[in-house]
């Protein structure tokens, strides 16, 4: 086997856990209720022809999580730690978005773009703040982002003066649900766009390679001429962009901003998505596609539990059991055990073929 092929195999192995999880969930649902995956074409109350069904709501509902997971993967890879302030930062970004939309009398496409750019800038600034603490002051990412986690939602409260204002415009409505004439939910299209941007960035820049190098060994990366501070800072700023996109989607989906409940607890789910995607939370090698799959696993699990009439407050307990099972399957010890088992088989086969050839 050539080196490249082996490396490719290793990469696919990382996606094994989320793929197995998705397969198990699909089989489970097919046995439980085959109509779970039925997709209907409906006309919604704004008169659009749209796709509906559990599958659509899984893919649609995981959008914010998937976008955050992309940025989080980069931060995890570069800094060997996680940002726990994404939910709070998304609340800030969403508040800025709403404030600007409400400030404009006629809401046009331009206003929405302006609002998005503004909230993107704010989220990037907060990302840079976190990044500065991590990269320059060398503080553990989780501790550094604990600051924004603590006070972020209160800052969001300030921006709109404590109220929970609504936005009710056709454009933001379309961003949150469907664009007239397109049957696919808009958030899904945004996820696809973000994934494309990340793919292009990795293909045409050294971002991916450098991030990986910094994560694996910071001092050797520095000695090889990589500006490690810059890479870490950049990963947080990119996460800031992801936060602003998710925050805006979340606001458009609900049509209002509630600083206390917008994307609540999403930081935990995001980190989980990164881990289920087979990425090492200690940094280094990473695969963004794994994290995206991880996000869909989490959402699929949640929707399955809802379909089984589990109340929304109890979902956490069941989710925890499945997560533990998944990480146990993916744990290094179990993996080594598997490798030994398959290794025995392979060496046995080799010995047999060798004996047959009379060597």
């Amino acid at each position: 086997m050539t080196k490249a092929a082996r490396r490719k195999r290793g990469g696919a192995g990382q996606l094994l856990i989320p793929l197995i999880a998705i397969a198990l969930l699909v089989i489970f649902n097919l046995i439980r209720d085959p109509s779970f995956f039925s997709i209907e074409i409906k006309t919604n109350n704004t008169g659009n022809t749209v796709l509906a069904g559990n599958l659509v709501s899984i893919i649609n509902g995981a959008s914010e999580l998937a976008i955050l997971a992309m940025g989080m993967t980069l931060v995890t890879a570069a800094c060997g730690g996680q940002d726990i302030s994404v939910g709070a930062a998304a609340a800030i970004a969403g508040s800025v978005f709403v404030r600007i939309i409400r400030g404009a009398a006629p809401v046009t496409g331009g206003t929405v773009i302006l609002a998005f750019l503004a909230c993107c800038l704010v989220a990037m600034l907060f990302g840079a703040f976190n990044g500065m603490l991590v990269a320059i002051f060398r503080i553990q990412p989780m501790i550094a982002t604990l600051i924004l986690y603590t006070c972020g939602r209160s800052i969001a409260y300030w921006i709109n003066g404590g109220a929970t204002p609504t936005i009710d415009t056709p454009i933001t409505g379309a961003i949150g649900s469907f664009i007239p004439g397109i049957p696919v939910p808009t958030p899904v299209l945004i996820v696809a766009l973000m994934a494309l941007l990340f793919t292009l960035a990795f293909r045409f820049t050294t971002l991916g390679l450098y991030t990986q190098a910094v994560g694996i060994n910071q001092s050797s990366a520095r000695l090889n001429g990589i500006n490690t501070t810059m890479i870490k800072l950049l990963s947080f700023v990119i996460l800031g962009v992801c936060v602003s996109v998710s925050g805006s989607i979340g606001v458009c989906r609900l049509g209002l901003i509630n600083h206390e409940t917008l994307l609540i607890d999403i930081e935990m789910d995001t980190i989980l998505a990164v881990a289920i995607g087979g990425n090492n939370l200690g940094g280094g090698k990473f695969k963004i596609s794994g994290s995206i799959l991880g996000a869909y696993v989490i959402q699929m699990l949640t929707i399955t539990l809802y379909a089984m009439k589990v109340s929304s407050t109890d979902v956490k307990a069941y989710k925890a059991v499945v997560i533990i099972l998944l990480v146990v399957i993916g744990s290094p010890v179990v993996k080594r055990w598997f490798a030994r088992m398959t290794g025995n088989l392979r060496s046995g086969r080799l010995a047999r073929t060798a004996a047959k050839e009379g060597v």
């Binding site: 603490l133 600051i147 006070c151 989980l272 939370l281 925890a320 990480v327």
Partner: protein
């Protein structure tokens, strides 16, 4: 060759800074805010309200010294409160409820320890799942708040240690003695026990060795897996105790009990000088860290900024201050050592 002894270790330096800032802050509050801060009951109230947090933070300090993290502590606390209240309301006996609390805590600790140290799964994910499970189980047990109706326990709840010479004279001329709840005694005992464990036992020293450098700990012949397992076991046990103390304080089970306790406990440990990277930390610092964190909230409320967001913003600002201070102090010392 004679080597001059370092005047302070990292742990002691960070702890001294915290204690100094706490005293300065409290003195400032006494001078500028007066009122309640001039009474010793203010300190007693702080302790009464935050005894569970102190206990939980002790456990977290142990885990953090060992180089891990346990974010399930708040969830376990709330699960313990809810199950004990439900058990006691169903005519359960007091001692058995205590065993139930310790059992739940130890069960979580054991599971976390096994998964983290023997299956080598990342502690954040394991304890995150633990938190989800505990919070979910709490709501499965009861979504609605449950009031404790057990007579014996309610009688025990009202027992308060009264210290007349630390009391104050009320407006009508009556002497009101200083009141401390039993939970505070438990919390202080936990702090002392963990302090002794960390300072004078082999296991405690092993925690520092493990957190400082896992490879060298292994080379020194320390059973790394068992040591790491023990950190999570201690944290789980302390969460169980904290749950019982929480129940004794509030007398009701609620799904939102101890919400955010894990982050408050982590913040307390950090303010007290424990580093998340492991190997550095002190439980006395954690105790003062908890007091600092809760005092600043009290100061914000007392100084007229009653809106809830002020508390979290000042807490955030204070965290920023402490974290940056620690980073700067440690890097300065690192430079001096290198020279």
């Amino acid at each position: 060759m004679e080597r001059r002894r370092e005047p302070f270790t990292d742990t002691q330096l960070l702890m001294t800074i915290t204690i100094g800032i706490f005293i300065a802050m409290y003195a400032a509050a006494m001078i500028f805010l007066r009122g309640g801060f001039l009474r010793t009951q203010q300190i007693f109230d702080l302790l009464n309200d935050n005894a569970p947090l102190i206990i939980v933070a002790c456990g977290l300090t142990v885990v953090m010294i060992g180089g891990g993290i346990d974010i399930s502590v708040g969830g376990v606390t709330s699960l313990v409160v809810m199950s004990c209240v439900l058990y006691l309301n169903g005519n359960g006996s007091g001692p058995v409820s205590l065993l139930l609390a310790l059992g739940i805590g130890l069960a979580f600790g054991t599971l976390h320890g096994l998964l983290v140290s023997y299956l080598e799964i990342q502690p954040f994910i394991v304890t995150l799942a633990g938190m989800f499970f505990a919070r979910g189980m709490t709501t499965i047990l009861s979504v609605n708040p449950q009031k404790l109706t057990h007579e014996g326990l309610n009688a025990l709840r009202s027992v308060k240690i009264e210290i007349p010479w630390l009391g104050y004279v009320a407006k009508n001329g009556n002497l009101i003695p200083g009141r401390i709840e039993l939970g505070v005694v438990v919390a202080l005992l936990c702090v002392i026990a963990v302090f002794l464990l960390l300072r004078f036992t082999r296991l405690g020293r092993n925690f520092y060795a493990l957190g400082g450098n896992q490879q060298s700990a292994l080379m020194l012949g320390i059973n790394v897996k068992r040591t790491r397992f023990m950190t999570y076991l201690i944290s789980g046990l302390l969460s169980g105790i904290a749950g019982y103390v929480f129940m004794m304080h509030t007398g009701a089970g609620n799904a939102t009990n101890a919400a955010g306790a894990e982050m408050n406990a982590i913040a307390s440990s950090i303010i007290g000088g424990t580093l998340l990277t492991g190997g550095v930390g002190n439980v006395i610092g954690t105790f003062f860290g908890t007091l600092t964190l809760t005092t600043i909230k009290k100061i914000v409320v007392t100084s007229g900024l009653k809106d809830p967001w002020w508390q979290s913003i000042t807490t955030g600002a204070m965290l920023l201050f402490f974290i940056v201070l620690q980073s700067v102090v440690l890097s300065q010392r690192g430079k001096r050592k290198a020279r």
